[in-house]
Structure formats: structure tokens, C-alpha cells
């Protein structure tokens, strides 16, 4: 089955340009997007949620200046933005967001409305991929199954229709957990999953048969993975957080050992983190964020940097990466 997938191996994630945890200036945002283009990146992912529209505005402002057929753009549905007079300076993880608030709505009608509103913010006449955002237990707690049900009977139906009519090329979920992806593969006909942090050097949930074997399940349906959060929110980029929480000691030790193995061969751990993800044939692209031109340019260089085979061989021999994980040059 041939399904549409974004061009890889590297894309650009859009949360940082929505001022996620820290403010990004307009100049830095613009420069980051131009740097991505100059580095050859042609896949961009954003969402209404990111800065309550800010990220979409910023992506659109730059991408609008480029030939539309030369890049792939994804955004999300599931949260509608509602004007919110009396703008607060920060809401949740978003610093200086636009004066809107979010309203969860996974219905069919809301998906149509959401895509259209995104087009207005982007200033573009089409997106390529629409992802149903955050239908998982991490966002909705125990009520997530109700939200999932509404999304499958609602938004999924709308997106399937949009794909049929050629309004979008592909649809899927944008989530942090493997369960909703596994269920969506059964309940509907998604093309891809933007799954953050569940296939990285440190987290192999998507590969784990005991967790449902998402990678294999995708391969059977011809679906693809877009790997968000390739550094697990910091631990693989020299930080100490994993999924935005302080990392457990065993994970810290594992990351530290991986870092030592990489350093012994003159390799940056971040480079190994990106190239490990990209080596899996189900992965269409890894999409680290970047809040300025330097970070984006560095990500592009890291994806291309040579990594000697001994790095992978040592990690494998020490059981740091699973047997069934492909590594570059060993697919």
C-alpha cells in the first residue's frame, strides 16, 4: 500500500516557535525557518496549540515565501482556538501566547473548521497532513478513551474524507503514547503517526512487542512514523530531563554510557540519537525542534555526521539498544 509520507530524514518540529517554555523572538523564529530551508529541510510540522496560533503564524509567514510544491506541511486538529480577551503572559507551557484559548473538539465538524482556521493563520491554501492531536491518557487522563472514541467517529471520518477529496494527502495522530496509535490502526485508516519520544535511543516503546509492537503494526498497514522528541526532551541532548521530567537514575546512567561510547569515537550523542531513529524503515522523518538558526543548522549537520559502525556495535553488544532495532548501515 502506498501512502503519502513527508520527506525525511529530517523535518522541523514546531513547538519551540510557539514559545514552548521560553520566548523566541520574531527574528529568531524567521531565521530558524530560513536556516531549515537552507539546510535542505522540506518537512515542517506545527499545530494550533503551539502558542495558541503563534507557531502557525510564524511557519506560514516564512513558508509562504517558498514554492508551495517544494515543501510538506503538517498541522493538527482536535483543539479549536477561541478568542480570549485579557491576554495572560503565560499559559501552561506557552510564553506570551496569542490571545486565544483552546477548546478540545474531536468532532467531524470541528476537524473541518480547524483545518480551515489553520489555513487562515498560515496564509496558505493547503496543508499536506492533518494529525489528530493528543488523544492519549497523558493529556486526557482516564477520559482519554471517550476522546479517542469521539475522534475516531468524528475527526478521523472528516480527515478520511479530506484525503479522498484530495484536500490533504495523509492523516494520522500526533501523540506521546503508542496505545492510541495501535488502536487507531484498528479503528480507522490512518497513514502516519507523529509519535513523540516513543522511538529514540532511550525509549523503544514503539518497537516493543509487549507494548503492542507499533512499528510492526505500522509496517503491516503501510503506515509511517514521524518521530518527534528525538532527544526525549533533553536527556539525549546533554540535559537531565526525560519527557519533561527529571530523569530516573537508570536512564541517566544509560544516557551517560551512550555518551561515553559516542565520545570514544568522536561522535556527538545527538547525532547518534537522530540517525538511530532515521534508520528504521517505518520512520519517515525525525523532527527535532529548533528555536534559532544555529540549533536548526546544527540538527541538520548532526543528521549527516559520520558515525563509525563500532558505535552501534558497542551499543548493541552492551544491550543498550534492542536486537530488533535497525541501525545505520545495518538495515
Amino acid at each position: 500500500m502506498t501512502r503519502f509520507a513527508p520527506p525525511g530524514p529530517l523535518g522541523m518540529g514546531g513547538a519551540p516557535l510557539g514559545n514552548n517554555l521560553e520566548a523566541v523572538s520574531e527574528d529568531d523564529a524567521r531565521a530558524a525557518l530560513h536556516a531549515a530551508w537552507d539546510a535542505g529541510i522540506r518537512y515542517f510540522d506545527t499545530a494550533p496549540q503551539y502558542g495558541f496560533g503563534l507557531s502557525e503564524h510564524r511557519f506560514g509567514a516564512v513558508l509562504r515565501t517558498r514554492p508551495r510544491d517544494e515543501f510538506t506541511l503538517s498541522t493538527k486538529v482536535g483543539r479549536l482556538l477561541v478568542p480570549n480577551p485579557g491576554k495572560p503572559s503565560a499559559r501552561g507551557n506557552w510564553i506570551d501566547p496569542l490571545p486565544f484559548r483552546m477548546k478540545y473538539d474531536y468532532s467531524e465538524k470541528a476537524a473541518w473548521l480547524s483545518v480551515e482556521q489553520s489555513l487562515h493563520r498560515l496564509g496558505l491554501s493547503r496543508i499536506d497532513i492533518a494529525l489528530i492531536h493528543d488523544i492519549g491518557e497523558d493529556t486526557h487522563g482516564r477520559a482519554w478513551e471517550q476522546q479517542f472514541e469521539e475522534a475516531m467517529a468524528g475527526a478521523a471520518k472528516a480527515l478520511t474524507q479530506m484525503r479522498k477529496e484530495g484536500i490533504i494527502k495523509a492523516w494520522g495522530l500526533g501523540v506521546n503514547r503508542v496505545d492510541p496509535c495501535l488502536r487507531a490502526l484498528e479503528a480507522a485508516d490512518p497513514d502516519l503517526f507523529l509519535c513523540a519520544g516513543r522511538y529514540t535511543l532511550l525509549d523503544h516503546s514503539a518497537l516493543d512487542p509487549a507494548m503492542g509492537g507499533l512499528m510492526d503494526a505500522c509496517a503491516r498497514r503501510g503506515a509511517r512514523i514521524i518521530a518527534g522528541g528525538p532527544y526525549n526532551s533533553g536527556l539525549l541532548a546533554g540535559g537531565t530531563t526525560f519527557n519533561y521530567q527529571p530523569a530516573a537514575p537508570d536512564l541517566l546512567a544509560k544516557a551517560s554510557r551512550m555518551n561515553a561510547i559516542c565520545a570514544a569515537s568522536g561522535v556527538d550523542l545527538k547525532s547518534a540519537a537522530l540517525q538511530f531513529i532515521a534508520a528504521h524503515p517505518v520512520v519517515a522523518a525525525a523532527i527535532p525542534g529548533g528555536k534559532n538558526a544555529a540549533e536548526v543548522t546544527q540538527n541538520a549537520a548532526l543528521m549527516k555526521a559520520p558515525i563509525p559502525g563500532e558505535v552501534w556495535a558497542t551499543m548493541r553488544a552492551e544491550g543498550l539498544i534492542p536486537e530488533n532495532a535497525p541501525t545505520p548501515g545495518n538495515m
Partner: protein, 278 residues
């Protein structure tokens, strides 16, 4: 005391050397021949069966009809196959329907790329031919087909349809919704029947227990009622997940809340009526 014959309304047999079982790959533990002689010792009080196609060829349907004819009255009906999209499908269906043992046809929708294949214009004449020739449609669908499948009932209100295996909810990963809500809608808006079969192979094959299966069976009973549920074993596929006797015992327990008459309907009467078994 059961009031009517007990019927296994869904099982298969196969001979691998026939060579048209595309899905039956060597890695599967059921990759070997299965005949009626393997089935008979498992049947207990069951005196009649419905033999269902397992290959997308008319040759397999002829093979199954031959087996039915020589089964000493055990196989009361065959669910066969023909290509519904073929331009001459209505004529072929008419010719096949002359064999009184053929009770219905089953396209293998679950494996098709186009989830809405059954709604394609070129398939509609075949569906109308089924109605004309008093044949039933076995609907081999999965939850991913359920956003659109109600349109089949809208287009062909007179077509007798049975949903195979409760539409195969992915029990192993806890998929209940949206399957549950969509099935309730289908049950409410159509006169379709549903087979109580094939569920344990959707659970964890090696580890399922009664409590994994119970909510799904309860839901099937709640949606279709004891008058539109039809029991089947899905043997030999059921061997992947515990085998014939385990599924039989499971359904015995899970149907415990029904009256004797209701249980008899699920275990045989409904199959007799729906498929017109002699």
C-alpha cells in the same frame, strides 16, 4: 434442554496443496491440512455446520460444496466466493445459486486496500444479484470499516447480511470504542445478524481469559439480542487461541444469563433461520 439443533455456523477446512490460501502463511501454527474428520470429534451435540470460504477463488467454493455433499448431512450450507467486481458477477452468482447447498458469499473485505470496496459502483450489481437469488452476504469486516459500512444497508435494505466475528474488535489492545458505539448504531439501524465467533483470536492468543472476552460478548448480546446472534467456532482458526472446546466453554459461560430458548436460538435456531438450513 435445547429446543433446536445446535449449529456451528462458521468454520473452515483446507488442503494446503490446493494452493490458493494467500493468508495462510507457513509461520502460522494452523499451516497444515484440516478436514471434517478433524472436526467431528469436537462437535458434541452439534449436528450441523456452515462451511465458510477461506480463499478468494471459485475453485475453493466448488471444493467446499463437494465436501458438503459428501459430509453425511453434517455441512448444511456453504458460504462461497466470487469476484463481485467482475462484469459478469450477476450471471456467475445466478449459476452458483443453483446449488442448494450454497447459502451465501463472502468477499474478503478485511484484507482489501480500499476500505470502501463494497460500496464501489461496479460491486453493486453483484449485491443486487445476491438478493435476487436468495443468497446472504457474510461481512468480513474490522472496526476500521465501521465508519462507512452502514451505507451498505442504506443501499441494499433487502440484502440479508451477517457480520462475521463481531467485526473483530482488537481485544488484545483494549479497543472497545469506537467499535462498541458503531456496532450499536449498526444493530439499531439494520436488520443484520452478527456472528458470535472469532473473538478469542482478537485477544492475546496465549493469555486471554474470560474477563477479557466478557465485555465484548455482553455488548454483542446487548446490541443484537439473542434473536440476531449466531454462534460459530471459527475452527480451525480458533486453534490459534485455545481451540474449539475452550471457545465453546467460554460462550457457554457468557451466555449464562439467557433463557434456554434464547440460548438455543444463538446456538442453532438463528443460523437455521438466517441461512435457511435444511
Amino acid at each position: 434442554m435445547l429446543l433446536t439443533a445446535q449449529i456451528d455456523a462458521h468454520h473452515h477446512v483446507w488442503r494446503l496443496a490446493r494452493g490458493d490460501y494467500d493468508w495462510l502463511t507457513p509461520n502460522l501454527p494452523i499451516h497444515r491440512d484440516y478436514t471434517l474428520d478433524d472436526l467431528r470429534p469436537k462437535l458434541g451435540e452439534i449436528t450441523g455446520t456452515v462451511l465458510v470460504q477461506a480463499a478468494s477463488t471459485e475453485a475453493e467454493t466448488r471444493y467446499l460444496l463437494d465436501i458438503a455433499r459428501t459430509s453425511d448431512g453434517l455441512v448444511r450450507g456453504v458460504i462461497g466466493w466470487t469476484d463481485f467486481a467482475a462484469p459478469d458477477a450477476p450471471d456467475r452468482i445466478g449459476a452458483m445459486a443453483r446449488d442448494p447447498l450454497l447459502k451465501g458469499l463472502r468477499p474478503m473485505l478485511q484484507d482489501m486496500e480500499d476500505l470502501e470496496w463494497i460500496l464501489r459502483p461496479e460491486v453493486q450489481p453483484a449485491l443486487r444479484a445476491l438478493v435476487r437469488h436468495n443468497l446472504r452476504l457474510d461481512l468480513l469486516i474490522r472496526p476500521r470499516h465501521m465508519n462507512h459500512i452502514h451505507r451498505l444497508a442504506e443501499a441494499h435494505p433487502d440484502l440479508p447480511v451477517v457480520i462475521d466475528h463481531g467485526a473483530k474488535p482488537a481485544i488484545r489492545i483494549g479497543l472497545f470504542q469506537p467499535w462498541g458505539g458503531q456496532l450499536r448504531y449498526l444493530a439499531r439501524t439494520t436488520n443484520w445478524c452478527c456472528k458470535l465467533s472469532g473473538l478469542v483470536t482478537e485477544a492475546n492468543h496465549l493469555q486471554w481469559d474470560l474477563d477479557d472476552i466478557r465485555p465484548y460478548v455482553d455488548h454483542l448480546i446487548a446490541c443484537f439480542g439473542p434473536e440476531r446472534l449466531i454462534w460459530g467456532s471459527d475452527w480451525p482458526v480458533v486453534n490459534l487461541a485455545g481451540g474449539y472446546a475452550a471457545w465453546r466453554a467460554t460462550t457457554d459461560t457468557l451466555l449464562g444469563g439467557l433463557s434456554a430458548a434464547e440460548k438455543a436460538a444463538v446456538m442453532g435456531g438463528n443460523a437455521m433461520r438466517f441461512y435457511g438450513l435444511g
